[in-house]
């Protein structure tokens, strides 16, 4: 039996047909749409490598069935940079060396974007660490990750102040 849903993925609306109700958003992207930026580290919601934004909120895509997300608007790591301009979080990850092997990185970055949007971590390192603790990094790039999130948070704050003024 075929299922059909519509998803807006990185700003592009797509009608997606697939034949299996067991497909998660993670496997849909990786194996069927060949959007492989999002990573699978555990497939059971324990590592955060698969973090994406669904309607602006960060979720573990390995725990999300594609079928139950008809109509959702999704951002993955591939959709973050705009017109070859890196998102401030991406730029901050490079500048602060917020990764080593890079496997957890798409999830870290999406989680950071989500955290900044949630707005309760601010630039307090303790809160940022707490807010990013759903994303494991076995390489231990946490110091750089924390710095990157704070730096991106600051530039987001400045951008907002700029807009308001």
């Amino acid at each position: 039996m075929d299922f059909s849903i519509s998803l807006t993925i990185n700003g592009v609306e797509r009608r997606i047909t697939f034949d299996d109700p067991r497909v998660t958003l993670l496997d849909l992207f990786r194996e069927r749409l060949h959007l492989t930026g999002t990573k699978k580290g555990c497939d059971r919601g324990q590592c955060g490598a698969c973090t994406i934004l669904v309607d602006g909120r960060r979720i573990n895509s390995c725990l999300a069935l594609a079928l139950s997300h008809d109509g959702a608007s999704i951002t993955t790591i591939e959709g973050l940079a705009k017109d070859d301009q890196l998102h401030p979080v991406q730029a901050a990850f490079i500048e602060n060396d917020g990764f080593q092997c890079g496997f957890c990185t798409p999830g870290q970055i999406m989680s950071a974007v989500g955290l900044i949007a949630e707005g309760h971590a601010g630039t307090d390192p303790e809160r940022v660490r707490e807010g990013m603790s759903g994303n494991l990094c076995r390489c231990g790039a946490y110091a750089g990750i924390t710095k990157a999130v704070i730096e991106a948070q600051k530039s987001a704050g400045e951008a907002r102040t700029g807009e308001a003024a």
Binding site: L35, A49, I77
Partner: protein, 750 residues
């Protein structure tokens, strides 16, 4: 790799010396945009998905698999079991050298550890393969699993990477008998699982008699040879691509059974196949750090000097192969004593075969030795740093060799100053913070050998003045794409932006293995030599050419800088690379270079990196929750190629030290032999909130003996020292000596 763009060079302005600059990662752009392609990101046309079924018992036989049920599931294409597994050219149980680990490739129905592959289900989709594997519903004939360290011990001849299992200098028993004070303590470390974030994966594609595999590898050339031997292929028919590893830590040094099974599955169905391990499957067939029980006996003189160190390790290997965690060896290098003895014993248990895991031996040995040294300092009534300085090894203790360099005193000094160690009260349980938490300060010494392996590289200079440098190096996160490119660019006197650096594929010159913290030194030296060789060729062209301003300069010599060759005695006279080549009618010129340990120097010197780690912990006096709040490490590891990346490596190592002291432990059920906490929910590794404020001081150290570039390696040293520093800080906070790791809040209760 053409898909590695050089980041626009904003952070890289200086010409002439790429080495030493804190460049951001050249693969950074790919990694932050999702463009870095890891093995499982490959989706060739016609791809099928394979899922392993693994044993849920630790010892016995598979008596039945419901292959029919699995095959009947829509989408399942085939099920690979011992009966239909394609033939291999060599026996997976054959062992012709110590680094050829026995594999589980469905050679029979035997089960020798929980998590062992027992079948492979191949399907059109991942979902169908997963369900097919479940439908196999295996039944077993089960035998009692052997677990723990209580079995009959035996004495292996070799441990680790072929070190002698026993070593000694002086008469330990006599020294202990004559010591003013002695202490004996037993330390236990658990099984640990590498758990790189990227589970082992392979995409295998047979193209006629040619095999292309995408799989993470810390040793591409070895991987090719292993596959060649198993499949009866010549190495030139095999291409292994591993541009990015999602972490390795030792578990991707050798191809695992799982990866070979993916290749076999592709052969069986004659289509490309992707096989990725699930997280729980990372707790069986891909190696682990074996548990240890270490007994340390220490003798002390009246003056607070060590008289003897006796370090005995009991560890475990699998029932069918040999790898022995060389924990006692740490006592060979750090502290001077008239008598030192190290030894190892082992038992056999029903687990997968243990393997090299980040600082194999050093990490396990260090946490025990550094704890024991702290206990000895306390016994001697001395400050732990003062005690370590009093027993500082001026020459390598057992061998008696001088150190090629050893800036450990500077590490102690700079680390202690930065941490504020001088203010530490000697008595335990005397410091509290403003919230009433117990505060403790502890320290440990870090050390790791400066190893070199063999490698080759190729250097090309083109008529347009650009260069190509290549070696089949491996970037598992340490930063090879960047650090090696920096070395490569300097080797041919070009700015990094003018050099194409290729790595990560088996069709490039053999870069050896990314292990033993020796990859930057090894592959870097090969690149350096290749560069030297191509520059020498270019110089020959110029100095023999009357039309060149360098004509006749062969006696005084030339140097390469900024894309030009310059007379060594008069740098105003020189010529651009491209001009030399064009006049000679050449489009490019190339040469190869080789690296290996300089054995002559290695026979006469002991070569190690060193460091000192200082830790602060805070402990809730009622709930006993333990937090590491501050870590300062000072490390001397020879020349630093890229301080930004090195700091990250050291931090990563220190976090593994936190994990060793407080978090990770693989628990094997005594009854079933299964790992009961085989996932990230139950097998704890530090999360961001567990990681304290970290500082790593890079202590200046020059060493012309380790290798021409003076590199010692930094990938593993951070774990050593750190675990012990935290354990010692816990003692200092509470007055309790805890000798079983990881230390948990429950251990402090009561």
């Amino acid at each position: 790799m053409s898909d590695i763009p050089t980041l626009s060079a904003g952070s890289h302005q200086r010409h002439g010396s790429n080495i030493g600059q804190p460049l951001t990662r050249r693969d950074g752009l790919l990694k932050v945009t999702g463009g870095a392609r890891y093995a499982a990101d490959n989706n060739p046309d016609g791809l099928l998905h394979a899922v392993l079924a693994v044993a849920s018992i630790a010892r016995g036989r598979v008596t039945h698999l419901d292959v029919e049920a699995a095959k009947a599931h829509p989408g399942v294409v085939d099920v690979m079991v011992p009966g239909n597994r394609p033939a291999l050219a060599s026996d997976p149980d054959e062992k012709s050298n110590p680094f050829m680990f026995r594999l589980d490739l469905l050679q029979n129905d035997r089960v020798r550890y929980a998590g062992q592959p027992i079948a492979v289900v191949i399907a059109e989709t991942f979902e169908a393969a997963t369900e097919g594997a479940r439908l196999l519903a295996p039944t077993y004939e089960t035998e009692q699993a052997r677990t723990g360290l209580e079995g009959e011990p035996f004495a292996p001849e070799k441990v680790g990477a072929g070190n002698a299992a026993r070593a000694q200098s002086g008469d330990v028993e006599a020294e202990l008998a004559g010591s003013a004070r002695t202490l004996e303590a037993v330390y236990e470390t658990p099984a640990q699982y590498h758990n790189a974030m990227e589970p082992h994966a392979v995409v295998a594609h047979w193209q006629g008699d040619r095999l292309v595999i995408d799989t993470p590898s810390q040793g591409l050339a070895m991987a090719v040879m292993r596959v060649a031997g198993l499949f009866g292929l010549t190495p030139d028919k095999i291409l292994v691509r591993s541009p990015f590893l999602g972490g390795g830590f030792g578990s991707k040094g050798f191809l695992s059974s799982a990866q070979i099974l993916g290749i076999l599955a592709a052969k069986l169905v004659d289509r490309p196949v992707k096989l990725a391990l699930t997280r729980p499957q990372m707790f069986g067939p891909v190696g682990h750090r074996a548990p240890t029980r270490q007994t340390l006996r220490i003798g002390l003189g009246q003056d607070g000097k060590l008289t003897a160190i006796d370090h005995a390790t009991l560890t475990a290997s699998s029932t069918f192969d040999d790898f022995f965690e060389p924990a006692s060896d740490i006592s060979h290098t750090l502290y001077a004593a008239p008598a030192i003895r190290t030894s190892h014993e082992a038992v056999r248990v029903d687990t997968g075969t243990p393997l090299f895991m980040r600082a194999p031996g050093e990490a396990t040995g260090s946490i025990a030795l550094e704890s024991a040294i702290d206990e000895a300092a306390e016994t001697a009534g001395l400050d732990p740093l003062e005690f370590r300085l009093k027993n500082y090894a001026e020459a390598e203790p057992i061998s008696g060799l001088p150190f090629s360099s050893k800036a450990l005193r500077e590490c102690y000094e700079q680390g202690a100053a930065r941490f504020g160690w001088a203010d530490r009260p000697r008595e335990p349980r005397t410091m509290r913070d403003e919230n009433g938490l117990l505060v403790g300060w502890g320290m440990g010494t870090a050390t790791f050998p400066a190893l070199m392996f063999e490698a080759e590289a190729r250097a090309v200079i083109r008529a347009d003045g650009s260069g190509v440098m290549e070696t089949g190096a491996h970037d598992m996160g340490q930063g090879a794409w960047t650090a090696l490119a920096q070395i490569a660019a300097d080797a041919i006197g070009l700015d990094l932006t003018r050099v194409t650096f290729n790595a990560g594929s088996s069709d490039l010159p053999n870069a050896g293995i990314a292990g033993g913290s020796g990859h930057t030194a090894t592959a870097g030296m090969a690149l350096h030599k290749a560069g030297e060789a191509v520059i020498a060729k270019l110089a020959d062209l110029a100095t023999e050419d009357e039309a060149s301003p360098l004509f006749g300069a062969d006696n005084v010599g030339v140097i390469a800088r900024d894309g030009k060759l310059l007379r060594r005695d008069d740098e105003s006279r020189g010529e651009a690379f491209g001009d030399i080549l064009k006049r000679a009618g050449l489009s490019n010129i190339e040469a190869r270079g080789k690296a290996g340990g300089d054995n002559a120097a290695r026979e006469h010197y002991a070569m190690h990196a060193h460091g000192a780690v200082f830790a602060e912990v805070k402990i809730d006096p009622d709930l006993c929750q333990i937090r590491t709040t501050r870590l300062v490490g000072a490390f001397a590891a020879g020349r630093i190629i890229n301080p930004r990346l090195v700091e990250s490596q050291l931090f990563g190592g220190m976090i593994w030290g936190v994990s060793f002291a407080l978090h990770e432990e693989g628990i094997q059920d005594k009854r079933s032999g299964r790992i009961v906490n085989g996932d990230f929910g139950e097998y704890h590794v530090p999360v961001n909130a567990d990681v304290p404020s970290l500082e790593a001081i890079l202590v200046h150290e020059e060493d012309q003996l380790v290798n021409l570039l003076g590199i010692k390696g930094v990938g593993e040293i951070g774990i050593t020292g750190t675990g012990g520093a935290i354990a010692n800080a816990i003692w200092h906070a509470t007055g309790k000596r805890l000798r079983r790791f990881p230390i948990r809040p429950a251990d402090l209760l009561g």
